[in-house]
Amino acid sequence: MNKIRMKKNINKTISLIILSFLALLAFIPLYWMVVTAFKEPSLTLKFPPEIFPKNPTLQNFESLFQRKEIFRWTLNSVIVAGTVTLTQILFCAMAGYAIAKKKFPGSQIFFWIYISSMMIPKQVTLVPLYIMVANLGMINTYWGLILPSIAAPFGVFLMRQFMLSLPNEILDAARIDGAGEFKTFRKIVLPMSKPALAVLGIFTFVGEWNSFLWPLIVTQTSEMKTLQAGLALIQEEVPMEYAYLMAGATYAAIPMVIVFLSFQKYFLRGVTVGAVK
């Protein structure tokens, strides 16, 4: 018995070593970003580099915030990601509920259109979408940034998968009690779907905050850029000023790290809602 125990302990130790090594590989670059951000700019050209900074400084953040556009970009990201998230939660919950729980002519067709469109690469809609948004006069506007993102199909698929698991008895009971369709949706379906709504909301917000290709194309002036597109702009302007760049990257990453840490439970359980079958 003791032998088996010892073997198990050895196995666990080896597992821990491999896991720590892999986790560290991914963590070191993030650590390096933060450390560089707090370094004196001239120290980035020092060799060998300081692994633990001796004299951390806020200098890089000060010069970053002197560039007032940074706040405008942040505001744009908040507006775009926030609007897309709230609208997606509502619209996807509605569509997902109807497709999952109502047997109406065409419900299966809707489902198949949504699920198969998830396989279509972004590049396919990119050019026509650009021409369309240009014709609608929405280039370089919030509308142009927001509307195409709300149209993304994934949320409907996610909500449909979740709504399937809602017990029919409760929905039927509400109907028998004389609650109308909208009242049932508002008073029963939405409250029961809170975990799924949270997951969809968090994922949409993080995804929109981090999205790059569409904002890059649809914005033209600096004041309409989102934070990601703005960062890319800075990267092009001063590709060698690493301390400054890492301060910018740290600044843009912090909100998402906070979101992650506060909703960790949803992230770690959430990915699985709807994914398996």
């Binding site: 991914a26 970003m33 060799f47 060998p48 990267q235 910018g248 770690l268």
Partner: protein, 292 residues
């Protein structure tokens, strides 16, 4: 008549679908169709002329397009197996630990996932810096020569692949862990009592039962990596010597730098067809002999 009646009876259901579906129609479905149509036009700043399949013909004679296609396959088939392998390894290794340790590792692997591709690309541009970067410092300290990671046509693509594998996999690990914890524990216990070793347990129990999740991750991962754009845009712009030029980046350059919109649409259609083909192959390959 009965169909119309049925539709009328369910009018509230259509009303529920309508808000999202109308936006989806305008900003997704119509653009997809329009993209197919555009790919048949010589559509640029100066002309909008119907040319039939001329764009496709030119495309398949274009060496650069073939190069980009090759690079995209190299990147996808480099990243996806390694990244999925890493995710599987981590999933199996954390399984026996108690919940706290599992959560800790899952969080660690998920963390890079909430940072944007732009941020990750900026960090690694700094890590890869030939003179002052962290990686070459490490190379020197173990006695190896420094490498110009991204400035060399032979190492640029492998560098990008390794970076992606190191940073990626977080959400797949969470997904696979959830699937694995739904496997009844006595399966493993019984196998152990029968004297099966870890590898046999993995091959005969874990892998087959995780198959649906693996298939889902494989298809989604292939689709995502086939469209790699942001890290190319920030880090290499397709160079050096076009060694990191991906189709997604070429579409961007063709459409928004050179304004050959028809040609760019044709490229994206080729991408689409290839992805559908790959997904079908993966389904065929993996969904055979899935047993429950």
């Amino acid at each position: 008549m009965t169909l119309l009646k049925k539709i009328w009876k369910n009018k509230s259901a259509y009303f529920f679908v309508l808000p999202h579906f109308s936006l989806f129609m305008i900003f997704f479905l119509i653009p997809v169709g329009w993209g197919m149509y555009l790919s048949l036009f010589d559509y640029s700043v100066f002309s909008q002329e119907f040319v039939g399949f001329e764009n496709y013909k030119m495309l398949f004679q274009d060496k650069l397009f073939w190069k980009a296609l090759g690079n995209t396959f190299l990147y996808t088939f480099g990243v996806v197996p390694l990244w999925l392998g890493k995710a599987l390894l981590v999933t199996v290794l954390i399984y026996p630990f108690r919940k706290g340790i599992r959560t800790f590792f899952k969080s660690m692997f998920y963390l890079p996932h909430v940072s944007s591709t732009v941020i990750i690309a900026m960090i690694w541009l700094w890590v890869f810096n030939p003179n002052f970067g962290l990686l070459n410092y490490f190379m020197k300290s173990i006695g190896l020569d420094p490498v110009v990671w991204l400035g060399n046509a032979a190492t640029a693509m492998p560098s990008l692949i390794i970076m992606q594998v190191i940073m990626g996999g977080g959400s797949t690990i969470v997904l696979l862990s959830a699937a694995m914890s739904s496997i009844p524990e006595y399966y493993f216990e019984a196998a152990e009592l029968e004297g099966a070793n870890s590898w046999q347990i993995f091959r005969k129990i874990t892998l087959p039962l995780l198959k649906p999740t693996i298939l889902y991750s494989l298809v989604m991962g292939t689709i995502a990596n086939f469209q790699t754009f942001s890290n190319i845009y920030i880090m290499t712009q397709g160079g050096p010597e076009f060694s990191t030029l991906t189709v997604a980046y070429l579409v961007y350059e063709t459409a928004f730098k050179n304004y050959y919109l028809g040609m760019a649409s044709a490229m994206s259609m080729v991408m689409f067809v290839i992805l559908v083909g790959l997904a079908l192959i993966q389904f065929k390959w993996l969904s055979s002999n899935v047993e429950y």
